[in-house]
């Protein structure tokens, strides 16, 4: 395919009177990054969790795809729910992009949820990877998600990554048992060793807790509102 591309480019160069020394058209690049692909020792058994993204595009405009979710591995396995997102990512400042897109929450038992998304992501001062996204769903549902991540280098290859995510809902989603206001916070601490930049096994701890009405609903159903798990996984990209 690369070959074809080069030959096409050569043909274009030969034909066009406006041929250029370096490409005037912007080449596109792509990256697939599986940031988390891990096993968690949850109370109900081993849970597989993932967080992955892919982009394709040029310096300023990129198409973003991402997914995250969990699946219970024991007892025959059951996907606990996951989300997929697609967005147009546009650079608007040296360290910041905005994102316009859509998200679907896939629920195994409950109804799926579709959202439009409006987000900002980038590198905040002091090198915090940050993301703030507002999701607007059907029937007036809104979800604000804030995420931040930081890298602490012990060596050039041994890197500790604290990360935190918080979700807020503008109104109750009764069907899914989610209350208004702050619904949940997830915090993680992962220590990875980059065997290569592209490939790093890690271990860590993940803590999740529900808050407010959401927590009350969960308690009402007899479930735990907080869970701390040890995790082990691998981060890779290409």
């Amino acid at each position: 395919m690369k070959q074809t591309h080069l030959i096409t480019a050569a043909a274009l160069l030969a034909l066009s009177p406006l041929v250029q020394a370096v490409d005037k058209h912007e080449p596109a690049f792509s990256r697939v990054i599986v940031d988390e692909f891990e096993a968690r020792d949850a109370d109900e058994g081993t849970v597989a969790a993932w967080e992955a993204a892919a982009w394709y595009g040029g310096d300023l405009n990129k198409l973003y795809l991402s997914t995250e979710g969990e699946r219970l591995m024991d007892n025959g396995g059951e996907t606990e729910g996951f989300e997929t997102r697609v967005a147009w990512n546009r650079a608007f400042a040296p360290f910041w992009d905005w994102q316009l897109g859509a998200r679907r929450d896939w629920q195994p038992d409950d109804p799926n949820r579709d959202w439009a998304s409006f987000g900002v992501q980038g590198l905040a001062p002091y090198l915090f990877e940050s993301e703030a996204t507002l999701f607007v769903g059907e029937e007036g549902l809104t979800n604000l998600r804030l995420e931040a991540e930081y890298e602490i280098l012990f060596t050039q290859k041994l890197i500790l990554v604290p990360a935190v995510e918080a979700n807020f809902y503008g109104k109750e989603d009764e069907e899914l048992g989610i209350g208004e206001g702050l619904t949940d916070i997830e915090a993680g601490l992962r220590l990875r060793y980059e065997i290569r930049r592209e490939f790093a096994p890690y271990i860590g701890v993940n803590w999740e807790r529900q808050f407010g009405d959401t927590a009350a609903k969960t308690r009402g159903a007899g479930d735990d509102v907080s869970e701390t798990t040890l995790v082990a996984g691998v981060r890779f990209w290409f």
Partner: protein
């Protein structure tokens, strides 16, 4: 941190001792005879005369222990050294055996633009299987080089030296004459390197500051001071160790095609005058060159003779050439040592009276850290304000400079060498002739928008593609540069040199064109004035005019800027010029050079760091007849 990966890497970086330069056949018309011909002492055959047949083709090389595909000229790495004579007309039949368009650019040569070898500007390139015949008269002498100007072929081997003997007797006759081609080789495909930089720009930097560095700084400098020092870097989101985009992690540095372990060796007899013609033919690497135990005397730079200066070390930018003379008196071997600017690796060779002798290889220096000078914070700015006012740059945006903060800053990291020299460069700032030179203004060219001073940042510099702007760029011609300021020995700088015979052309420019060197490291975007080549329009020079080009480096990287087809006469101050084809601009530096637009046509103008050029730090310069222009003077 374990030591074993480091050891492994060291061996990799230094390459193979045996088998280096072993070349396989890539199946593209390379005959074994041609390959054998490349096994000369320099790693490249020397071809002389006035008619040459050059074949660009694929071939395998093994420089690191792994056989990898390369793109080579006549099957040799570097390409054959071409020896021409001033006054001759040379004919070069260049056949492209690659499956993609190719080209050869004759770097630093004065020639008709159609012969300059830049696809899209000079010609359409050389299509696969085709032969292009270059023919041009040689109007100069000295050390130059040639390389592909297509995609990344230069990185994978299409580069070689050109030596032009003077028509008259050589003013600096020598007993021996060696071409010293420095380059950077990667087993990775260059396309892959570029894609990797776009995905993760610090991929090749394994010198990031760790938490242990911070703890050590806490101990040595105190917590408050350390946090203050780090504050600016953290708020700017910049890495203090970002000296090279591509490093020894993937590069093996070569001297005449030999890895450090393969140890290129040149012979001399004690007492002989030996000329070394260094050519930095690398894609991305600045080399700091020295020969422990031996001083060098520079006699030419970029092919042009300079008044001789004795020195011990110099930094050679990508695409620059320097001719030095050494006179080893003793019967002992010397190491030619060229470490990369970020100290992630080195090229090495040996000068010896006896092939059995070699000399110790010095340790690399610890990697330096970028400081306030590199940030364009005016490490030396305090001294230059007077000059700036003298230049009618009163409109410079002093409001944006936080003088209080600058005074409060600790300058531990910035290298006091820079400070020490600072007072000396006044002349460089006062433009010779002291007459007011109008800034070029062209209504439909955003590069030439109205400006009131050279340091002013145009609106185009504010956007996602520009991550910083120097607040107080300064004259730094006599600054040896990061990592070389604390030397106990003489480090050559541009300010030390001067074109032999005095200024080769007028000191009085007609117009001033200002370009800021800009980029966004984390997005790996590079540009002039915040505008990538893809979004730029050609810069027009009027045939015959004398233009001043002023460059302001708003990035934290050193950039070698090359104008094709026309000389760049660097203004040194005091009526002195240094005639060059490629000018290295340090972070935070502002410098000017004069260009006589004496060759019409379409010329390339770009940063000679290969991946910066590809990313868009590139312009077309058109030299046009005045009648066809729509200039509006400001």
């Amino acid at each position: 941190m374990t030591t074993s990966p480091l050891m492994g890497r060291r061996r990799f970086v230094q390459g193979l001792a045996l088998g280096t330069g072993a070349l396989g056949i890539g199946g593209l018309g390379m005959s074994p005879a041609k390959l054998l011909a490349s096994q000369g002492q320099t790693g490249a055959a020397t071809l002389s005369g006035n008619t040459f047949n050059l074949a660009i083709g694929g071939a395998d090389v093994n420089l690191t222990g792994t056989t990898r595909p390369a793109t080579l000229v006549n099957g040799s790495l570097p390409a054959p050294t071409l020896r021409w004579r001033e006054g001759d007309t040379v004919t070069l039949n260049v056949t492209n055996y690659l499956p993609e368009t190719s080209s050869i650019h004759w770097h630093g040569l004065l020639l008709p633009f159609q012969m300059d070898g830049v696809p899209g500007l000079s010609f359409d390139g050389i299509a696969p299987g085709e032969t292009f015949t270059y023919r041009f008269p040689i109007k100069q002498n000295g050390t130059y080089w040639y390389h592909s100007h297509s995609r990344f072929q230069e990185q994978s081997g299409v580069y070689g030296a050109i030596v032009i003997d003077p028509a008259e007797a050589d003013p600096e006759p020598v007993d021996r004459d060696y071409v010293m081609v420095l380059s950077d080789w990667s087993d990775e495909k260059p396309e892959q390197i570029y894609a990797t930089l776009k995905k993760l720009s610090h991929y090749y930097n394994f010198n990031e500051r760790t938490i242990f560095d911070t703890l050590r700084d806490f101990r040595e400098k105190g917590v408050v001071q350390t946090l203050k020092d780090r504050h600016m870097w953290n708020t700017m989101r910049m890495s203090q160790s970002d000296l090279a985009d591509v490093t020894g992690y993937t590069y093996t540095y070569l001297l005449n095609g030999r890895s450090p372990n393969a140890n290129w060796t040149g012979l001399f007899k004690p007492g002989e005058r030996v000329k070394l013609r260094f050519v930095n033919a690398s894609a991305m690497t600045f080399f700091d060159i020295r020969i422990p135990g031996l001083d060098m005397t520079v006699v030419a730079m970029d092919g042009q003779p300079v008044k001789p200066v004795r020195f011990h070390e110099c930094r050679l930018g990508v695409a620059e050439t320097i001719d030095v003379i050494v006179t080893p008196e003793k019967k002992q071997a010397f190491t030619v040592f060229a470490q990369s600017i970020d100290r992630s690796g080195f090229a090495r060779g040996t000068l010896t009276p006896d092939p059995a002798m070699s000399a110790a290889v010095p340790e690399m220096d610890p990697p330096p850290l970028l400081g306030h000078t590199e940030m364009g914070m005016g490490g030396m700015a305090g001294m230059n304000h007077g000059d700036m006012e003298g230049m009618n740059h009163g409109a410079m945006d002093h409001g944006k400079m936080d003088h209080g903060a600058m005074k409060g800053m600790q300058h531990d990291d910035m290298g006091h060498g820079g400070m020490k020299h600072a007072g000396m460069q006044h002349k460089g700032m006062q433009h010779d002739g002291d007459h007011k030179v109008p800034f070029a203004f062209v209504a439909d060219n955003p590069d030439l928008a109205p400006r009131t001073s050279a340091v002013q940042h145009l609106d185009s510099e504010y956007g996602p593609g520009v991550d910083m702007r120097a607040m107080a760029p300064a004259a730094m011609l006599d600054d040896p540069g990061i990592g070389l300021r604390e030397r106990d020995w003489k480090v050559l700088t541009y300010a030390d040199m001067e074109t032999a015979g005095g200024p080769p052309d007028s000191l009085m420019p007609d117009r001033e064109i200002v370009l800021h060197l800009t980029g966004n490291m984390s997005r790996y975007m590079w540009s002039f004035n915040g505008i990538k080549f893809a979004d730029a329009v050609p810069l027009e020079l009027y045939h015959g005019e004398r233009a001043r080009i002023t460059l302001v480096n708003d990035t934290m990287m050193t950039h070698p800027i090359h104008l094709h087809g026309l000389w760049s006469d660097l203004e040194l101050g005091g009526g002195r010029l240094l005639r060059k084809h490629t000018i290295t601009v340090k972070p935070g530096e502002k410098l000017s050079y004069l260009v006589r637009a004496d060759a019409t046509g379409r010329w390339a103008y770009h940063c000679h760091l290969l991946y910066h050029m590809e990313a868009g730090m590139f312009r077309e310069v058109r030299v046009v007849d005045n009648a066809t222009t729509k200039e509006a003077r400001s």
